[in-house]
Amino acid sequence: MVPPLLEVTGLACRRGGRLVFDRVSFGLGAGELLALTGRNGSGKTSLLRALAGLTPPEAGTVSWRGVDVAKDPETWRGRLAWLGHLEGLKGDLTVIENLLIAERLRGGEAGDRLDGALLAFDLNALAAREVRTLSAGQRRRTALARIALSQAPLWLLDEPLNALDAPAQAAFRTALQSHLAAGGLAIAATHAELGVEGRSLELGPTLSSTSPPPGGEEG
C-alpha cells in the first residue's frame, strides 16, 4: 500500500497549560478532503495552526511524502494555502492588489490565473474596489479567491463557509472540487456541511489532566 501524501501521527497541542487535543492521527492522499468537526474550543483552529507549523506541537509529527515537515519548514509553507478566520486582506488595497500581492508573497506570480479566480468567485465587478468598502461575505469571497489562485497542493481552511451566501457557497464547492480533482488536498474546519465528498474527523474534549502541565507535580 502506498503511504498517504500527508501523514499526521500522534499530534498533541497545548495552550495555556491545557491540552486542546491529543494523539490526533490521520493520513490524507491526493484528491482527498478532510472535514474537521467538533464543538467550539475542541481545537479545530489549533490543529490547523499546528499543521501549518504556526504553533509548535507538544508531541507528534506531520510528514509529507514520508518526510517530517519540521525539517524544511520553508518548503512546507510553500505547499500550503491558508485561510484563517481573519481574511488576511488589507483594507486600503483593492481586491486585485490584495490578490496579486498575496500571491507574490507566496513566491508565485498570478498571471493569467487571476481572471479565472476573479470569475470563479464573481469578483469582477468588485475588482477595483478597496477591500474595506466590501461586505463580510465579499471579503470572504476575496480570501477564497486568494486560496484558489495559489496552486498550493494543500488547502488549510478555517470555517470557509462563514458569511457566504448560497451562490458563493456553490462557487466555493466548485473551486474545492476542481482543486481535489487536480490531485490537491484540503483540510477544513467547519460547523456546516461542506457539501463536497470527503472524510471527516471529529475532535472531542481531551482528558486535560492525564499528562502534567509545565510546573506540574509529576517528575
Binding site: G16, G17, R18, S208, S209, P213, P214, G215, G216, E217, E218, G219
Partner: protein, 239 residues
C-alpha cells in the same frame, strides 16, 4: 562539579528549594549581620572618602549583582527559547524584580554617597548612568513579562528582550563612557571600588557574598512561588 541538571524539572526544583530555603535563610541572616558589623565597626575610614566608604560595601556588591542578574536573565531566556526549559521562564519571572531591586539599591546608595562627596544627589557619572539604563532594561523586562493575558507569551517575549538587552549592554556602557568623558571634568572622585586595601577588601567581599546569598535566596523563594502560581493557573484553565 555537582550536577544541577535535575533542577530543570519544576516539581523537583520545588522540593529542592523547600529543603534548602530555611537553612539558606538562616545562613544569609548571619552573614549579613556579621557583614554589617564589619562595615560599621571593623573597616577603617578611607583617607579620601572618609566614612562614606562604608556605603561602598552596599553599593559595589549591589552593582555586581544587578549586572550578574541581567546575565542570568539572558541565560534563562536562551534556555527557554532554545531548549524550552519550563523552569527557565518561571525563574526569569522570579529573578527580574530581584535584579531590579539590587539595581535600585545601587542607584540610591550611589546617590546618598554622592551628596557628601560631590555635593549633589545625582551626577551624570558614567557608572551611575549605565546603572540607570540597566534599571530601565529591568523595568522593561518586568513590564513585558506581565503585559500579556497568556503568561507563556510574556515569558517568551521577555526572553527575547533579555537576549537583545545583553548584547546591547556593552554597547550602552561603551557609549555612556564616551559621552561621559566628553561632558565631565575628570577631576572628581570616582564612584568606584575604593583603593583596594585588605582592611577594605575583606568587608567588601564579605558583603558581596552575603548579598549574593540574599539574591539566591530571593530567586529560589520567588521561583517556588511562580511554580505554585503556574500550577494554580493551569488548574483554573483545566477546570
Amino acid at each position: 562539579m555537582v550536577d544541577l541538571h535535575f533542577l530543570a524539572n519544576p516539581a523537583r526544583f520545588r522540593r529542592f528549594s523547600q529543603r534548602v530555603l530555611p537553612s539558606l535563610g538562616f545562613a544569609t541572616a548571619l552573614m549579613l549581620a556579621v557583614g554589617f558589623y564589619m562595615a560599621f565597626f571593623v573597616a577603617p575610614a578611607d583617607y579620601q572618602q572618609g566614612d562614606t566608604v562604608r556605603i561602598m560595601f552596599l553599593h559595589v556588591p549591589a552593582a555586581w549583582l544587578s549586572m550578574a542578574g541581567y546575565a542570568l536573565l539572558a541565560g534563562l531566556g536562551a534556555s527557554l527559547l532554545v531548549w524550552r526549559h519550563p523552569l527557565a521562564a518561571l525563574m526569569a519571572r522570579a529573578a527580574a524584580p530581584v535584579g531590579a531591586s539590587f539595581a535600585a539599591v545601587c542607584l540610591l546608595t550611589g546617590s546618598l554617597w554622592g551628596r557628601p562627596m560631590w555635593g549633589t544627589y545625582w551626577v551624570w557619572d558614567a557608572r551611575l548612568t549605565s546603572m540607570l539604563l540597566l534599571f530601565f532594561l529591568y523595568l522593561g523586562h518586568i513590564a513585558l513579562s506581565r503585559a500579556y493575558d497568556s503568561p507563556e507569551r510574556g515569558d517568551r517575549a521577555s526572553a527575547i528582550l533579555a537576549l537583545v538587552g545583553v548584547i546591547n549592554l556593552p554597547i550602552i556602557k561603551f557609549s555612556v563612557d564616551w559621552w561621559n568623558t566628553l561632558h565631565q571634568p575628570a577631576s572628581i572622585t570616582r564612584l568606584d571600588a575604593p583603593a583596594i586595601h585588605n582592611s577594605i577588601l575583606v568587608p567588601l567581599l564579605w558583603m558581596a557574598v552575603s548579598l549574593l546569598m540574599l539574591f539566591v535566596l530571593l530567586v529560589l523563594l520567588r521561583t517556588e512561588t511562580e511554580i505554585d502560581r503556574r500550577r494554580l493557573e493551569n488548574a483554573e484553565a483545566a477546570a
